[in-house]
Assembly symmetry: C2
Homo-oligomer: 423 residues x 2
């Protein structure tokens, strides 16, 4: 199996200013063509660190990626390190310069061409992939049979370079194994019990199929990864392993193909021809955002409202002011009325509401930080639940609650199928 090492060059990552999302994207892309990432090294913008890490990476893997360290104000150090490591020199590339000119011209920025001129300097031995969404090109270098790709650091420049140019290049150059992954989503069972329940099954897995446990929120994802020559055979093998798993924990499985809860829900809704809308308070738009992050969600998501101020819950969602007075705004009763109001406003089969305190300050009605009530209305029936998550920071709280709600809707829809009187 072919292997890769990713090197992230960037003081901004080490200082905590930026989250490195490039490595995740590149790892996902490489996995799909059967290349396994062995390590990710994040290092400072320093010539000696870059050279030392390139050396180490070249001793470990078949493919090396560097991201970052390129750009009009950073080029020098990284390119010097490259020149040193590859025992090469920088030359001016007419092709890159011409591309840069066209790129800037299209964006009415031709006046900065002279200031970006150095970005056309590349190693003499490098093959070049032009960057259609930024000014720094990608250099491809080879040494002792190992390929190295130097990428810029901006994620929306990295993505098309990897997807459209590097992946096809690697597919052509390397004789690659196939990797097939399947994720089984399991709910309502703790990781430790789960691992005991399926231990025998796990031990009997063939050697080329590996299993990982990925706990996320209140769900555990079981990831099966198979490696081999034929994608078709691997797919069949994984299918048959999952079939053996179902008698053991079938009740707890909510999906065997899709990974993300928002996609699992989307497929269910399309299959059942149901529409959905949301009325949010403490999740502040995250729930709508999670649902609309799925391409094609306009087929079932008609809309959402964030009634952040209490008065807006009353004015727009018809929450009764008496209910707020009697039970406070963070209450089961208000959640229920919000869901009803949401369903009338958007006229959807399913309507969801949230009301709670994301923190760090207490809510206006004095409820504890981390408290949330949410209602899921499916056609005429409804379920209201409470969560108390005082340990989560504001953004994690919003995300956890939103994920949990989608998970609940999925569970309800699946169970409803089996016993329609459930709620």
């Amino acid at each position: 199996m072919k292997t890769a090492v990713l090197i992230t060059i960037g003081d901004e990552i080490l200082s905590g200013n930026t989250v490195d999302t490039n490595s995740n994207f590149i790892a996902t892309q490489l996995k799909e063509i059967g290349i396994k990432v062995l390590s990710i090294f994040t290092i400072p913008d320093e010539e000696s660190a870059i050279i030392a890490t390139l050396k180490k990476a070249f001793g470990m893997a078949d493919v090396v990626f560097t991201t970052g360290g390129l750009g009009p104000t950073k080029d020098d150090i990284t390119k010097k390190a490259y020149a040193d490591f590859f025992e090469d020199e920088m030359v001016f590339s007419d092709e890159v310069y011409e591309h840069l000119r066209t790129y800037l011209e299209k964006r009415n920025r031709l006046w900065i061409l002279d200031h970006n001129r150095d970005q056309a300097m590349v190693l003499s031995k490098a093959k070049i992939f032009l960057n259609f969404y930024g000014t720094a090109p990608c250099m491809i270098l080879e040494k002792n049979g190992v390929y190295c790709f130097s990428l810029p650091g901006v994620p929306y420049e990295v993505k098309p370079l990897v997807k459209d140019q590097i992946i096809p290049f690697l597919k052509e150059k390397l004789a690659l194994d196939s990797i097939v992954t399947r994720i089984v989503s399991v709910v309502d069972i703790p990781e430790s019990i789960l691992s005991e329940t399926i231990e025998e099954w796990e031990l009997a897995l063939p050697k080329h199929i590996s299993l990982s446990y990925l706990p996320i929120g209140s769900r555990v994802k079981l990831r099966l990864t198979g490696t081999g020559k034929s994608r078709t055979i691997l797919e069949k093998e994984l299918d048959s392993e999952i079939q053996k798993l179902i008698p053991l924990i079938g009740e707890n499985i909510i999906a065997t193909h899709e990974d993300k809860i928002e996609k699992i829900l989307g497929e269910l809704l399309i299959g059942k021809k149901l529409t959905i809308s949301v009325a949010e308070s403490c999740t502040g738009g995250e729930l709508a955002h999670l649902i609309t992050s799925v391409a094609g969600s306009s087929a079932y998501f008609l809309g959402g409202i964030v009634t952040y101020a209490t008065q807006k819950k009353i004015d727009i969602l018809n929450v009764n002011p008496r209910t707020v007075e009697d039970f406070t705004v963070v209450s089961e009763q208000v959640a229920t009325e919000m869901a009803t109001g949401c369903q009338s406003l958007f006229k959807t089969d399913i309507a969801v509401s949230t009301t709670g305190v994301a923190g760090p300050g207490r809510g206006e009605d004095g409820k504890d930080v981390g408290t949330v009530f949410y209602t899921v209305r499916i056609e005429g029936g409804e379920v209201t639940s409470k969560l108390f998550l005082p340990h989560l920071e504001r953004l994690d709280f919003m995300n956890f609650v939103s994920q949990k709600i989608l998970q609940d809707i999925v569970s309800l829809l699946i169970k409803k199928n089996k016993s329609p009187q459930l709620y």
Copy 2:
């Protein structure tokens, strides 16, 4: 200056299944107490890789963190590696077991205590920080004056352990330098021109103050980092450097204290006592989510609506069906009417709207993927703008557009101050 190395243990990171956010959090926390992260190594769940990386890290830094590799199904490998590296053995800790019992009891999960019993096995020399939000404790080990912290992988368990226990511990144990950071946000000037314009200023910076360029969307953040004994002196020095910068690029500066655009906007709105609401289509809730990600945003954010389906724009925001027919739903005209409808619905000083095509499929009216119109209404005036971002993937598109809109509102509010007739 004290230094740290972070080790992320996890096949799920290397396979691209999970984004590593722990390193970012830990780096930010360490920076605040003057500890610099030298490198982040992400490695597989393998004993030999863990031992080799611990060795390397102990040769580089004063403090070492590992995250991940702990948990009921993973403990074995990581703890074995620790025992080997620290030449120690595992012992059963009554304190950890008792804590585990209480933790599970509170959550009505006492029945799984036996299955999690091994989590009470710790190195004999380790000091322990109890984990109040999960089952794996944090071990603290010392070797040759270097401190090592082994943390679980779940972000909401890592955060409180680091913030409440490890940071106070490090502050007490190490004689730390102060680090002070200031971020200057600059708009409407390309990075290459910016660097030329401020070159002389940059070269004249004292040696203990460093500068980085962090481009984000259509903004460049200049980060000044000062290191020294006295926080008060450093703060004054950074202030005075920023004062020298203002005559050079004052027109382009939108903030000198805050880093995040949603916080910059929040402070402005509180200062000016203005309220805001949003009506979203293609951003799908991301704009509301970005605004409400700020603690205290309920002071100015009254609400938002996601009118994803065209009919909802007509029904709820009073968009004229004729306008949709004449100009299509992704148009300047619909954006304008949505903003007007939003302002009437929520009765806010500022109302914002978005309508566009996030992709990957074309919009129903055939507009190109990546097209968006957005309107910012401030009291009676309004500005409608268009962006075309065909290179961005769905989620990046939603985020870029939302960031850009907040940036525009900030620019408008700042300029409005200087010349009220601007729009």
